[in-house]
């Protein structure tokens, strides 16, 4: 029997809370397709999320799901992974969730290189609470809490993850759905801490506040303002954002190391 995306959704909990035009649904769809393509059993997947629009993704999906507290998805995910290393752990987070409230968990999970797939659904704003700027909004952007312009520079998630020691780092957008699925598959298959930044549109807040038009305009923005890693276009226009896989390295994984230490302590 062919497998359908619907088989992975908890339809009785629909409709979802996401606004029309929100990019989160595109990510959910691609995530399911990637999981189907990898053939991972539903019982073998634990999805851990924090708080925010993005974090509601866990409730809608038919896996073992853990909707935790703000910024702590990776802390809970680390606990689950350590107790059941054989399971596949996916932690989708928002940009504020992952890098403001959960910034410390993010860098230390990367440093440990624990086998978790961290997805940062980056819409550059706190949507659920009413459009406050996040550490990803960037200088000069407008938000409810920055009506005259934001004076903070943004994090570069890719550089941050690389610096903190993640062994798989990638970036894609909700426009580039085919490569998103490929990247998610590789990230989940990777043994170690994988970070996938997905630029996603929030037409309700970030788009509206920054006069970026509707959801389609924002998707076109991702198309025009990003370029594959190492393309010639970037040389001509340095403001373009690169997408693709930046890091993919085999490195000692935390649970494996932990297991060795347990063995050592038990003298085996």
């Amino acid at each position: 029997m062919p497998v359908s995306v619907k088989d992975y959704l908890r339809e009785r909990f629909m409709p979802h809370i996401w606004c029309p035009g929100c990019g989160h649904g595109i990510i959910m769809n691609n995530l399911i397709r990637a999981i189907i393509s990898l053939g991972i059993r539903k019982n073998d997947i634990v999805m851990v999320t924090g708080i925010g629009c993005s974090s509601r993704i866990s409730g809608y999906m038919d896996f073992h799901t853990l909707h935790t507290i703000h910024g702590r998805a990776l802390a809970f995910a680390t606990g689950v992974k350590l107790s059941r290393p054989e399971l596949t752990i996916i932690a989708p987070m928002g940009d504020g969730d992952a890098l403001a409230i959960g910034g410390n968990h993010f860098i230390h999970a990367a440093r440990r290189n624990i086998d978790i797939t961290a997805i940062v659904m980056n819409n550059r704003i706190y949507g659920m609470t009413g459009g406050q700027f996040s550490p990803l909004s960037g200088y000069g952007t407008i938000a409810t809490t920055a009506p005259y312009g934001n004076i903070y520079e943004a994090f570069d998630i890719v550089e941050l993850a690389k610096g903190a020691g993640a062994s798989f780092v990638a970036r894609t957008t909700t426009y580039h759905v085919t490569s998103m699925q490929e990247i998610l598959e590789k990230a989940m298959r990777h043994k170690g801490f994988s970070v996938v930044e997905i630029l996603t549109q929030c037409p309700t807040y970030f788009g509206r506040k920054n006069r970026m038009g509707d959801a389609v305009d924002m998707l076109n923005y991702f198309k025009e303002k990003t370029t594959p890693i190492g393309s010639g276009k970037k040389e001509k226009d340095p403001s373009l954002i690169e997408r693709g896989i930046f890091v993919q390295e085999e490195r000692t994984e935390y649970c494996a190391e932990y297991d060795k230490i347990v063995g050592k302590a038990r003298g085996r």
Partner: protein
Amino acid sequence: MQARWGTHGDHSIVALTASTHQDLFRITVEAFNISETYRTPVILLLDEVIGHMREKLILPEPGEIPLVERLWTSVKEGTNYHPYLPREDGRLPMSDFGGVHRYNVTGLMHDMWGFPSDNPEIAYGLMRHLIDKIEDRVQEMTYIKEFYLDDAETVLISYGSAARSALHLVENRRARGEKLGLLELQTLWPFPAHAVRDRCERAQFVVVVEMNMGQIMQEVNKALDAKDKVFLANRIDGAFISPSDIRNILRLVQGKGV
């Protein structure tokens, strides 16, 4: 107080403490037992003195202290499993992540499947469960230590490291024939009001010894409803409360002057 009211929303919580490392070992095991039984956080509320000191500890043999086994669901694969269906005994049988039952765990108000809900009836049911599973079992969760309470005319109530100074004083005074006793609390929350009432009924004076402005004294006041016989012996200058500090308060309380 932070352990009890440190979050938004209403809930019950268990907080335990101890005054010696030997007791601390035991109470830590009990903390896990309560936590495993009722699926609740249990806070080990320890103070700086207990944390920094070193003293002898005799480790019990495995099996000497009973351990609670987690309750697992007997619901088979394919049958509807309700992870949050309240039971009268306050316990919810669990199913592991990676097992045959896939369900949602959330910090939001949720229904018996664990899915977020804003239905007031469901929210009320959940709140009652979270509160009642603790408050209905206060006696079961009460850990106290009693020293010379049988005929005590003055009862000291203390917990944590302060209880060591209190005990020192009590033993000195007993040697001199004074009817002083100590009730040491190891359970702070849910507050063992019944035990405090019972042990202080016949006391002329009750002196609460603690290192703050009287957080537990307020609970003692609520339990006894006899404010004129409850007094506070405290220090809030960062120095550890000594037996002589308590003695000075006792002199005042007993009308012996400073």
